[in-house]
């Protein structure tokens, strides 16, 4: 039994399917949650008729979506047009595969991260690589729809994606430099043993966390970085031409992306499933993990409904003038602190 | 056997790249085929590295090669953009001023 539990293939399959289910469900529930949340913030009710607290609204919406006609524009590039909605879901799920959802102190006092589909040695590289691929579906959808609005949105999306990937990678390098490992489980274990990175590296860690978080928002095209959508100018961004299930998959992927971004930020900077003093059993791990990433998730929606949207040029300026040099400086400062600590 | 298979695959990729480089009219298309060739070279490099005691050095050099290719693509695309600006198209036969 124990042998089976540490077999990566078994874990991958035994855990992969539930993970996909859970993430899909989270993606669905997130729509309901957001509408309720937004309702509260705007002093209205939100969906409340279907099911208890309107929670079955998700189901109703899903059924409605599936019934819609699947329209492909006449001049569209059909191959890419159909490929575009599938990719983001796939990429988001794949990047969730390396996140350890729980962990515990074993008998020898070592932290053991557990419950992940694949414990890659290069986990962080994997996640960042997939984040880099996230611009593809945006571009595909924008180009393939053969619509000037989607094309503009696609260009903006790609520009924003490649730009914010740099501070994202740099900010993610801070934990790598600090912990000396590329593996996500290793980073969590280090944080469990040495303290969470937000305060273990006093100001640098917190700033890196903020940078990572904001860059993730930009990668996930969330407000205040949702220029590619920009309902007011681009009538909804690259998904304008998508109907029914395909459009739904885009939206779904976006919600899941948000959730995964929150989970990643927690993993890298907030100690993952570790909670000081309360991590004596592995079954407690998911609770802390969900609590922490849930808080970030809520924060994202909070920002979304209370913040405004940047203009495209302001967005790029923020990235290249503040984020990129800032993140570079942060990496250097981290290296300096690591070096100083080796001296002490 | 394994190494020979790898090298053969690399050779085939390289030759497909050659075909593309010669026959593409579009500058971006030529760059794409060049990428194919570069990747074939990388595959060769990494194959030899992995059949050798000193795999890490081979990997390091593959990384160098990747970085070089990236630099090449960046400059190449800048040239394509320049070509487009002056000729309003990216077809390579438009850039034949030296013949005149």
């Amino acid at each position: 039994m124990s042998e089976l539990l540490v077999n990566p293939w078994f874990l991958g399959f035994a855990y992969g399917f539930p993970l996909i289910t859970v993430l899909m469900t989270v993606g669905g529930l997130a729509t309901w949650f957001e509408r309720r949340f937004a309702g509260r913030m705007q002093n209205r009710v939100g969906p409340s008729f279907v099911g208890p607290f309107g929670i079955l609204q998700v189901l109703a919406d899903g059924i409605k979506m599936m019934q819609k006609e699947d329209i492909v524009p006449r001049d569209a590039d059909k191959f890419l047009f159909n490929l575009a909605p599938i990719l983001p879901v796939f990429l988001v799920l794949a990047s969730a595969a390396t996140i350890p959802f729980t962990g515990y102190w074993d008998d020898t006092g070592q932290w053991q991260s557990w419950l992940m589909v694949a414990d890659l040695d290069i986990g962080i590289l994997w996640v960042l690589a997939l984040a880099g691929l996230m611009v593809f579906p945006i571009w595909m959808a924008g180009w393939a729809s053969n619509n000037k609005y989607t094309l503009l949105a696609g260009m903006r999306g790609v520009a924003q994606g490649v730009s914010y990937e740099i501070p994202l990678v740099m900010a993610a390098l801070v934990p790598v430099v600090a912990t000396g490992t590329l593996s996500l489980s290793g980073i969590v274990a280090w944080q469990a043993e040495n303290g969470w990175l937000v305060w273990r590296f006093p100001i640098v860690g917190a700033l890196a966390f903020i940078l990572f978080f904001l860059s993730s928002l930009a990668e996930a095209n969330r407000i205040p970085f949702d220029i590619p959508e920009a309902e007011s100018e681009l009538i909804g961004g690259v998904i304008v031409e998508y109907t029914g299930l395909k459009g739904g998959m885009f939206l779904m992927a976006e919600y899941m992306h948000t959730a995964v971004a929150a989970a990643l930020a927690v993993t890298l900077f907030l100690g993952g499933s570790h909670m000081p003093g309360l991590s004596f059993h592995w079954a407690l791990g998911p609770i802390w993990f969900v609590l922490k990433s849930g808080a970030l998730f809520v924060l994202i929606y909070w920002i979304r409904w209370s913040w405004f949207r940047f203009r495209a040029d302001q967005l790029m300026e923020l990235c290249w003038v503040l984020f990129v040099p800032g993140s570079l400086i942060l990496v250097m400062l981290t290296a300096v602190q690591v070096w100083v600590e080796t001296l002490l | 056997m394994l190494l020979q298979v790898l090298l053969t695959v690399a050779a085939i990729l390289f030759c497909i790249g050659i075909y593309g480089v010669i026959s593409r009219r579009n500058a971006v298309g030529v760059l794409l085929s060049l990428e194919l060739m570069a990747n074939a070279v990388n595959l060769n490099l990494i194959s030899f590295a992995m059949f050798n005691e000193n795999g890490a050095v081979g990997q390091a050099f593959t990384l160098f090669a990747i970085a070089l290719t990236v630099a090449e693509v960046v400059v190449g695309l800048a040239l394509v953009v320049l070509l487009y600006r002056t000729r309003h198209n990216a077809l390579l036969e438009l850039a034949s001023d030296l013949k005149r």
Binding site: L80, G132, L133, V162 | V5, V28, E35, M50
Partner: protein, 167 residues
């Protein structure tokens, strides 16, 4: 003898070659780019099988994430939609094919005519990021620094090339 490794590589090889042919021959340039993305990802998979996961990650980040995105940018900036179909040059195809096949023949002669290659076996260990990193900062430091200089030069050169107002 077919080992799992060989089987995996053979399987990936067919996909690789298929994608590569698509890259070089597809009429639609945009599709060509995505076929190239396929080639690069498959190549990363081959790297993983060969025991170089770090390199595979870099391959995806730099090539697929960076180069392909750049290519897409290049297409967006320089192509009008109808132009993407004008990709091949009819009168050149025959000679191009001849050269490519000739080169392939020579290479195959070299590869399969060298018996030493057949007996070589892969060394078993995986090479992770830390070993490569150590090499960068020890024996290959000069090359590393020169490379960084080259990248800087490429960056500056690109900016100079595409800067507006000079033309």
């Amino acid at each position: 003898m077919i080992t799992p490794m060989l089987a995996g590589i053979l399987f990936l090889s067919w996909l690789l070659i298929f994608c590569a042919i698509k890259v070089a021959t597809t009429k639609n340039l945009v599709h060509s780019v995505f076929w190239l993305a396929g080639v690069l990802l498959l190549m990363a998979a081959v790297f993983v099988i060969l025991g170089a996961p770090f390199l595979a990650g870099i391959q995806v980040v730099l090539y697929t994430g960076g180069v392909i995105t750049l290519m897409l940018f290049g297409i967006m900036l320089t192509q009008r939609k109808p132009d993407t179909q004008v990709a091949m040059d009819a009168e050149n195809r025959g000679p191009a094919l001849a050269t490519a096949v000739g080169m392939l023949l020579v290479l195959l002669t070299a590869i399969w005519g060298t018996p030493e290659l057949a007996t070589m076996t892969p060394s078993p260990q995986m090479v992770g990021a830390s070993e490569v990193g150590k090499i960068f900062l020890s024996t290959q430091l000069l090359a590393f620094e020169v490379l960084s200089l080259l990248l800087l030069a490429a960056m500056i050169g690109t900016i100079v090339l595409v800067r507006k107002g000079d033309h």
